[in-house]
Each structure stands twice: as structure tokens, then as C-alpha cells.
């Protein structure tokens, strides 16, 4: 090979191109390579030091949920034909991936009742930020009004991005667990680019989405772009965003057939009304025909995208989450038209059961009385971190310590409990027993520490 190239050595190729001053004159200081079995053992040992949802009874949620992923999804995601291609730049040999995108877009449009969907963005909170950017392109506004019920990560991600292009983020507080309607209406003015809320909100409460949308549009002029972060698993039973005045629906797609994976990769869904189609970020697959008239699919409306429009693009996104979106559409096909409703009703029933029993415990109050579907917030009388540690010793993870996640003072003492179809009545009963005992033990510990303090 060297003779064909016309060099005397491999080193010559580098020496002729890279100035000596910037060549690394030593070996990389990294451990020596390992054989496959040794790498497996190392990665297995690391995995063993994590307590996963396989190892404890977990009620963690707050954006990602331990739903069951059917085995056929693992099989399809590991197929070489889906796992190993690049983005479909050559449509003639990428019809499989392009058709999956087209089917995914159809499924997301159906779920959200919004006519246009892209083929996925990264994940939930960055999808919220992407929707904010779309709004600022659409109306030139530099002001975002967000509900405090939006996931804290979504608010933080929106702020990070908005700071770049000089937009401000104004937070509207909650009242009785949902977005305060008076504060919401008062915060939205003629300069507001987007009004953003979550459905259900971060604390599990179902918002009056139609009322929030209508209030946002009530002023003079076109009004802001109304953006909702939705939880797709609830959309079998919850009125879809397209039917309550929402312009752009985004959301975390993990619940649809994707693993927890310590937070990623998953996918972000992004759907909108028709008028936003040409400002959408990311890939969009479209139907067309080939020269012989056969039905086929291509990446379309690419003049929005960075590789064509460069600095005038509607987004910089290139690689998105195609494989995770595949899992999403396969999961939705697996659930099916009736299954998504049944699953929603099961979650509703079990969540109600858990909420009733847990609020019956001494030292537990519900944070709000609003309807909930799959997650709810409780206020504990005691130190949440200490109570959670006691539960963990019994093999139960009772939920998310909200203050640790949000950093908000008013979230001290708040526990967010999530239910999936994997958490049975028996599991919920066990949670009730373990949490009750942990609360009691904390009360006893607090009482005895008071007693032992010298007068």
C-alpha cells in the first residue's frame, strides 16, 4: 500500500502534513487495550455498582419512566439495517429508514392531533428550547412566558438557549397545583413570543390546556405561539394538544419503547400546526414517486436545514434520534389504537389507588387536588432525603426528591411518585408499607434526638 501511495513509510504521510510542533511526541496516557471478554467484565462490574429499576422497586419518574419495553423492539433496534446506516442521504437505498420516519411522523400527528411532525429531535427539554427558537423565528419576539409547571430541566434548557439570541424567560407561578390563570394572562403581552406549559405538568397535575391556550391568544394581534410539553403515554386518554388550541407540541419520547439508559438516548417529539412547517427543525420525510412511478420516500423541505441554508437555517440540528424514534413508532404500533387507551386507564386507576393510600399515611399530604394520570406530588412531614434512604434500605425507591431536582425552596419536602404498568397493586401496597414505616422511624428519630439534647 505504501508503494502505491509513493511513500517510504506510514510516518512519512504524517510528517509531510503535520508540523512537528503540533505532533504528539508520546503515546496517549491511557490504559492498554483489553480483549473483548475483559471489556465485558469491566463494563459488567460497573453496571453492578448501579441500582437500576431491575434491582429495587422504583417509583422514580419526573421525565423518564420505567415502562416495559417489548422484546421485539430490542430485536428491531439491533438489526444492522436500522442500527448501522447514516442519515438517509441516498434515498434509493434508504427506503426502510425513510419509511420509518414517515410512519413515525404519522403516529405523532395522530397522538397530538397536529398535522405536521418532524422525524425527531434530541429529547424533551431541548425540544422545548427548539420550539422556543421556532417561535422567535416566527414572530421575532424575544420574550417567553413559561408555566412553573414546566419541567425544571425544560425551563433551564430554554434559558440557556434563549440567552444566546437575547430572549428572556418569565416564569408564571402555580396555584393549587396548576398554572395560575390570572398570573398567566397578566404575564402575556403583545411582545410575548411564546407561551409554554406542560401537560400533565411537572407535579403530575392535568392542566386546563384549552383555557391556557385561549388566555394566551386573548390579546390583540396574532398572540404568542402556544407550546405544550406533553407526555405521549397520556395521550390515549387526555385531550390532545391539537384539540385545545396548542400550536406546537413537544415532549420526551422515552416512555414510548425506549430504555431509561440513565437519561438517554431517547427522542424528542415535535409536532405543529401547518403554518409552522417551513420553520420546523430537523429532518422530515415526505412521500413521492420514483422515475417509474413507484411510491417512495425522501428527506424533504431540506431548504430549512443547515447543510443547505447554513447561517439562515431554522436549526443547527443534523444527527437526531432516528433509531429511538423507530422504537417509538414500533411501540405505538404494538400498543395499538385500543392499547394506548387501556394503558392510560390502567395508569389512571393505579395512580389514583396509590395516591389515596399514600395520602392516608400519617405525615403525608397531597400537594394539590388536581386530576393526575401517572404521577403525583406529595408533601412529606420530614426530611425527604432521610426518608428516601430508609426506604432504599428496604429495596424501595419511593420517588423523586423534587427539591433536589428543582432547587426551589417551595419544593422542600415534596416527593414525586410515578406509576407505570410494571408497578402492580402489590408493589403499591409495599410502597405504602415501607414509606409509612420510614416516616414513622423518622418521627421517632426526630423525637429521640430532641429528648437527648441536653437542657
Amino acid at each position: 500500500m505504501l508503494a502505491t501511495i509513493g511513500v517510504g513509510s506510514l510516518q512519512e504521510i504524517f510528517e509531510r502534513q503535520i508540523p512537528e510542533a503540533v505532533r504528539l511526541g508520546r503515546e496517549l496516557d491511557l490504559p492498554a487495550g483489553l480483549g473483548e471478554q475483559d471489556v465485558y467484565e469491566h463494563l459488567r462490574a460497573l453496571a453492578a455498582r448501579n441500582t437500576s429499576a431491575e434491582d429495587e422497586l422504583s417509583f422514580l419518574g419526573a421525565g423518564m419512566y420505567d415502562h416495559y419495553v417489548p422484546a421485539l423492539i430490542d430485536m428491531l433496534m439491533e438489526r444492522s439495517e436500522f442500527l448501522t446506516p447514516y442519515t438517509p442521504y441516498q434515498p434509493e437505498i434508504s427506503q426502510g429508514g425513510l419509511q420509518v420516519m414517515f410512519e413515525y411522523q404519522t403516529a405523532i400527528s395522530e397522538l397530538t392531533a397536529l398535522p405536521v411532525s418532524n422525524a425527531s429531535v434530541y429529547e424533551g427539554p431541548s425540544a422545548v428550547a427548539a420550539a422556543g427558537y421556532l417561535a422567535s423565528l416566527h414572530n421575532g419576539g424575544r420574550r417567553f412566558v413559561v408555566s412553573a409547571g414546566l419541567h425544571p430541566h425544560s425551563i433551564q434548557t430554554l434559558r440557556t438557549n434563549a440567552h444566546g439570541y437575547g430572549a428572556e424567560v418569565i416564569e408564571v407561578p402555580l396555584r393549587d397545583g396548576v398554572t395560575d390563570p390570572d398570573a398567566w394572562a397578566a404575564a402575556i403581552d403583545a411582545d410575548t413570543s411564546a407561551a409554554i406549559f406542560a401537560q400533565p405538568n411537572f407535579y403530575g397535575a392535568v392542566e386546563d390546556a384549552a383555557a391556557l391556550s385561549a388566555a394566551a391568544k386573548a390579546g390583540v394581534g396574532a398572540g404568542p405561539v402556544v407550546i405544550a410539553q406533553v407526555d405521549p403515554i397520556t395521550l390515549g386518554i387526555l385531550v390532545p394538544p391539537g384539540e385545545c388550541g396548542v400550536d406546537v407540541a413537544v415532549g420526551e419520547g422515552q416512555a414510548l419503547g425506549n430504555r431509561l439508559d440513565f437519561g438517554g438516548p431517547s427522542f424528542g417529539l415535535f409536532a405543529a400546526r401547518e403554518e409552522y412547517l417551513r420553520r420546523m427543525p430537523g429532518r422530515i420525510a415526505g412521500e413521492t414517486i420514483d422515475v417509474d412511478g413507484r411510491r417512495g420516500f425522501v428527506l424533504t423541505l431540506q431548504t430549512r436545514e443547515q447543510h443547505i441554508r447554513r447561517e439562515k437555517a431554522t436549526s443547527n440540528i443534523c444527527t437526531a434520534q432516528a433509531l429511538n424514534a423507530l422504537a417509538g413508532v414500533v411501540y405505538l404500533s404494538w400498543l395499538g389504537r385500543r392499547g394506548i387507551v387501556e394503558l392510560g386507564e390502567l395508569l389512571l386507576a393505579r395512580t389514583h389507588y396509590a395516591r389515596e393510600l399514600l395520602t392516608g399515611l400519617e405525615g403525608v399530604e397531597q400537594l394539590h387536588e388536581q386530576p393526575v394520570i401517572r404521577e403525583f406530588a406529595l408533601r412529606l412531614d420530614g426530611d425527604v432525603a432521610a426518608i428516601r434512604r430508609r426506604c432504599a434500605q428496604q429495596g424501595v425507591n419511593p420517588g423523586v426528591d423534587v427539591h433536589a431536582l428543582s432547587g426551589r425552596e417551595q419544593d422542600r419536602g415534596v416527593l414525586l411518585v410515578a406509576i407505570t404498568e410494571r408497578r402492580t397493586r402489590k408493589d403499591i401496597d409495599r410502597l405504602v408499607g415501607v414509606l409509612g414505616a420510614a416516616l414513622a422511624a423518622e418521627r421517632d428519630a426526630a423525637a429521640s434526638s430532641k429528648v437527648s439534647v441536653p437542657a
Binding site: T4, I13, I18, P19, L24, L28, L30, L34, L43, R44, A47, R49, S52, L60, P70, E81, F82, T84, Y86, Y89, E92, I93, G97, M101, F102, E103, A107, E110, E123, P125, S126, H163, D208, L235, G236, L260, G263, G264, A285, T288, D290, V291, T300, L301, N316, T319, A320, A322, L335, R337, R338, G339, I340, L348, A349, R350, Y353, P371, I373, G407
Partner: protein
Amino acid sequence: MSPIEQTPMQRDHATTIFQKGAAGRRAFVCPDVDVPAVDVAALLPERFRRSQPPRLPEVSEPEIVRHYVGISKRNFDLDSGFYPLGSCTMKHNPRLHERVAALPGHARLHPLQDPERAQGALELMWNLQGALSEISGLPHVSLQPSAGSHGELAGVLLTRAYHEDRGGRLGIGQPHKVLTPDTAHGTNPATVTMAGFEVVKVATNPDGGVDVEDLRAKADGDVACLMLTNPNTLGLFDPNIAEIAEIVHGVGATLYYDGANLNAVMGISRPGDMGFDIVHFNLHKSFTQPHGGGGPGSGPIAVSERIAPFLPVPVVVARDDGTFDLDHERPKSIGRLRGFHGNYGCFVRSYAYICSLGGDGLKDASEAAVLNANYLLARLKEHGVAEYLPLAYGDLCMHEFVLSGGPMKRELQIKTLDLAKRLLDFGFHPPTVYFPLLVEEALMVEPTETETKETLDAFAAAIAAILREAAADPTLAQDAPYSTPVRRLDEVAAAKNPMIREVLA
């Protein structure tokens, strides 16, 4: 190879999952409602309830499997053949990585698990950060960005935070421009706009590197950053990099490294040593995260000391007692770029790759990538090819090279697009076409280190055969492909009248 009759796959009309199945068919068996029955209407007022279920497919599990296995066969993939897509680094994806990423301790770990009970994951992230730091020659790493362009956005926002920290809000007389070469990936200028900066292009010199005089003329107090890929998108290492860094730093700007082409220099040359302040990595290029047909990717960033205070939160830290934690208390941080901690599943795969190869192996990989590219380039310089597809710039190359199809278009009447489409009939994925923009009829070829000499020879032979065939009859390439599941598609019609979902009954 000549035009053929319809293949069996071409005879199959594409049918979506929404067109299959029948009313009442299903795969999912919902668990019994094991808790006391509830009145849905009481728990969820009617105005909040969906009136009609979403029209999802009604299909059985065997139907789902057969449908998706069937359409998967209409994809070309890296496991099936050569995929020399320039700037995309389509190297082999070891199956071990899928196995370890699927271990429940990784795959079913909730991102909000308490750090003390996710020590394995945090140690893995810490180790990966350390490896990326050593490879890049920069001391601090954040794994959070979700892909390359997300890493770019992080980098430009870090630049903004750095300048604001030094001089308040940016405005006239303050840094508000970002320089990008005219060879840059499209993500660079798009990112600059999203981060609220203005794009200024820097010209390319006759050797394919940055035009240093043009850079010098444009580098002033208005400039916040220069974004550079090195080796650049022409596959050339810029020999003036030290001088470029000096000019950029001289006006107080940062130097950003687009890591798309890192596969050329691992263990050979480090961006930090070249003077870069911020680097992004593409774990889905250099570090074998499978591309998945368009993601997931992962775009960690490494930065110098002066940029470190602004890194996104949370940051993985090692405590004195040997444990690991997530640090959220970073007052100068730009904030969060996404939910949770990044694409951990990709970290597992890329970390497994680095463990497999070690420092020596990574260097070997880059050396083999550059050797393969130069060998394929040499084969394509042979008689019968180079007259039509000359190398656009330079003599040798790094891990990829760019040919110009200009002479081919003029003399053989076939465009680069036609060559690419005809390659499909020969069983190859074509190289990247029409990029970078400054090369006429560009063809950008990146073979990677995991291809054999036999594959490279076969690819060179296919190019030569297509050119010979075109000399006799250009319509063969002009009408190609013939053997693919569908033939050339009408992209203009697709954009003019967008049909982006199935019409449902």
C-alpha cells in the same frame, strides 16, 4: 452491470404499518386492572378526556415483526457494505457495545437515581471524560451535548459566557462575530446564528487551508471565535495552525475545534496542543456509536482552563473519598443544554471502544484510517480516473479526500450525482457529494480504518468501470440506479406538495 428488469423488491408497493392490520387486531396485552375499579369520569373531567382514540395501527405482533423486518431490507447499511461517506466516519460498530449497553445496570438505570447508588455510571462517565481529555489535550470535559451540532452550540454559548464574564453584555465594539472558513460544515454557521452571533466567512488559500492574510484582516475586537475543523473538510491538515491560533488569541477570541474529523489524529496530534480552547467530539463518528439511520449521537465537549467555569451543569466530579458525584453548584455555568446527563447509552458504547483499543489502539486506528485514505486516493489517481476526477487540493491527504467531478461532467457528460447513483448498482454507498461547496462537483471520500485493501481496490475498480462505461454511453449513469428498491425519486415534487404523513381512513 447493465439495466435490468424489475427486481422483486421493486415490484413490492411500499405499504405503511397504518395500511396493514384489521379492526380489533393487537399485540399488547394490557395487565388486569388489579386495583379497585374507578370511575374515569370522576377522576378525569370530560373536558380533559380524549373523545376518539388516536388512529394507531391495529396489528398483531407477527405482523409488526414482518413489516419492520421487511422494510429494513430496503436499507443499505454499514454491516452490509462499504460506506465511504466523507466526514461521517462510518467505521465498524462492534457488537460487544450493544451487549454491554443492554446490561440492566446501565439500560434500566433511572437518571434521577441517587448518585451514591449510581456510582458505576458516574465512574464510567468520569473515566470517559478523562480519556477524551487526554485525546484532545484539554483538561475539562462535559458529556452533556446530544450530538455534534449540539456540542457546537454548547461551545459557542461557552464563548459568549466567557466574553460576557470579561466585559459584560455583547454589543457594538464587543465581540459579536464568529469566523468560519468557507469549507466549514453547515452546522457551524447555523450554530453561530442560533447563539446570537454573526457569521463572517474566511477564505481558503490555494493549498486548501485557511487564508491567513484574510484571517488577519478580519480578526479584530469584534471577533468572538474562530470555528475550525482540522484536518478540514478537504481532508487536509492546516500547517499554519499555530499561526492561526496566535492571530485568534491575539484579538482575545476563542478557537473552536469541530471534532468531526478527529478520526485522523487520535494519538497523533491534539487540538489542545494546536491551541484550541473548545473541542467537540462525535461519539457516533470517531468512537463507534452506531449512527442508527440518523441518530442517536453524542457530542461531548472538552475545554481549556479559562473556559471551564462556564461548562454546562451538572458536572461529574470525583470526591476525595474515591466516590463520584454530580455538581450542580457552578455559578458561572451557561446552564443546562438538555434533560439529565446526556446520552449515557452512547457513553457506554464509546467507553467500551476506548477500553478495547487503549491509547496505542486509538493511534493505530487513526494511522490505518489515514493509510486507507491515501491508498484509495492513490488508486483513484491512476490512469482512467484522475483525468476525470482530479484531487481538488493537495497531494497526500489525512483520513479523507475530496475529488472534483468537474472534468468528468464536461468530458463524459455525467455529473457527480450520476456517478453516485451508479455506484449504488455496484453495491457501494456513495461518498458525500457536493460538499465542501468550494469544490466543483465535489466527491468526498472517507474509507475509515476498518476497511480492507480488497474493499478499497474493489471500490476503485467500480469507479474506473463507471467512467469507462460513461465514455461509451453516459445515459447508463445518467439514468442510474436500476437495481435499488426504488429508482431516482422526485424530490422537487415532494417539497412542492409535502405529504409527510399517511392519509388515514
